[in-house]
């Protein structure tokens, strides 16, 4: 009687607990390795499997309407100034695999869906500093390919802007000299965490600096 009890215990161990435990271990291992890519795979899968267009505007407002206008100026009254957290444009860098939605504000929702302008800086066309943040494992991972002279394109509803990359800098997140929010000249500053492929938190930031080469100037700012 005792022997049969021990045997059944062994059977439970050998045929149930161990296989289940091993399956779990394998599942967790595969998940851990593939976690960074899962959301992308799910997104792509949903794109093909969905029977209707996904409404991405539910998590944030989008006021971006692409335009072909190439005017040198645009009146301030024609600019729909974005509220915090709204998508109002797109940002891309030729040859660098950077192509993202551009938000006003850099909290978690904008950075999960694209790149975001710090609200304490300015939006394009105002002749001031534009400070843009993006995650290193998603939308700004391509900053690792940026070279001097590359062109950053920002498209908004009120005009399209181009900026030429003038340099890069690796520094810490506390380095206030890495940007100048008081500058009176339009300058674009992009940044992300460094190293580019690290998963952990880091205090290092990779900054990309660019100067405006084209795009409408906002007029009528001072009445």
């Amino acid at each position: 009687m005792k022997k049969s009890k021990n045997k059944s215990k062994k059977n439970i161990k050998n045929f149930i607990i161990f296989p289940v435990a091993l399956c779990l271990v394998m599942f967790i291992f595969v998940f851990a390795v593939s976690a960074p890519f899962i959301s992308n795979i799910v997104s792509i899968g949903s794109m093909f499997m969905a029977d209707k267009q996904v409404d991405y505007s539910k998590s944030y407002d989008n006021i971006f309407i692409p335009t072909d206008t190439n005017a040198d100026t645009v009146n301030a009254s024609d600019v729909d100034f974005p509220g915090i957290g709204k998508q109002f444009g797109e940002l891309s860098i030729e040859n660098c695999d950077v192509d993202a939605k551009l938000f006003y504000g850099d909290s978690s929702v904008p950075l999960r869906n694209g790149v975001g302008i710090y609200a304490g800086s300015f939006i394009p066309g105002y002749g001031r500093t534009i400070l843009v943040a993006g995650h290193n494992n998603t939308y700004f991972n391509g900053l690792k390919n940026v070279k001097k002279g590359d062109v950053v394109i920002i498209s908004t509803s009120y005009g399209n802007y181009k900026y030429k990359v003038t340099g890069t800098k690796l520094t810490t997140d506390k380095d206030k000299k890495a940007y100048d929010l008081s500058a009176k000249k339009e300058n674009l500053v992009l940044y992300t965490c460094y190293p580019f492929d690290s998963l952990g938190l880091t205090n290092q930031r990779f900054f990309v600096y660019a100067e405006k080469t084209s795009g409408p100037v906002i007029t009528g700012l001072y009445e």
Binding site: K13, I17, F18, A21, L22, L24, V25, I28, F29, F31, A32, A35, P36, S39, N75, A76, S77, D78, V79, F81, D106, S107, S108, L111, R112, Y118, A119, G120, S121, F122, I123, R128, L131, A133, G134, H135, N136, N137, T138, F140, D173, K174, K176, A178, Y179, L181, S182, Y191, T192, C193, S198, L199, G200, L201, T202, R205, G220, L221, Y222, E223
Partner: protein, 190 residues
Amino acid sequence: MKKLIAIFFAAAIIAASALPVFSAGLNSSEQSVLSNMRTPANMKGNSVYVPASYVNQAESYFNTIDMTADQASKINGIIGQGRSFLEGTGKSGVRELSSSEKQTLLGYASAAAGVLKMSAAAGSDTNKVKIISKSGDTIVDDSTNVIKATGAESSVVPAVILAVTGGLFLLSGTALVLSKKKLSYEKIEK
């Protein structure tokens, strides 16, 4: 402590935000408030400025509203009172302000926000400033740095850490069970 001064000015900014009328650009009233914000407080010879990021936010916001001369006058009055208060403390920097002085400064901010049926508050460490509208919406939340944490998307990191930890835990557990099993077989063989 700079944040506490910032809340004072931010409250003044928010005063303008309650205006329902939209106007692009900066009118003379808005320009006067911005100019006032850029004027430093003289604390025992030290010039104390409002952070550029706050002035920029005000400027951006003023682009979306239309401030009247009367409203600008009130806001400038509050800014002036706050500046006079700071200069009258006899301290050489904002970090030297006592707890009660900080509360007085916060009082100015709350009073300014209260006129517009908004509330302003600072955390006990005075590093986290919040301005909340009448409807409960957070208008200003100064609890984050200029440069954000842009490492791997935050929702992925905990999941990965949890998965790896769980995996290691299960692996060690399985190894323990297997080693015990091996020992018991060896005993039987003996």
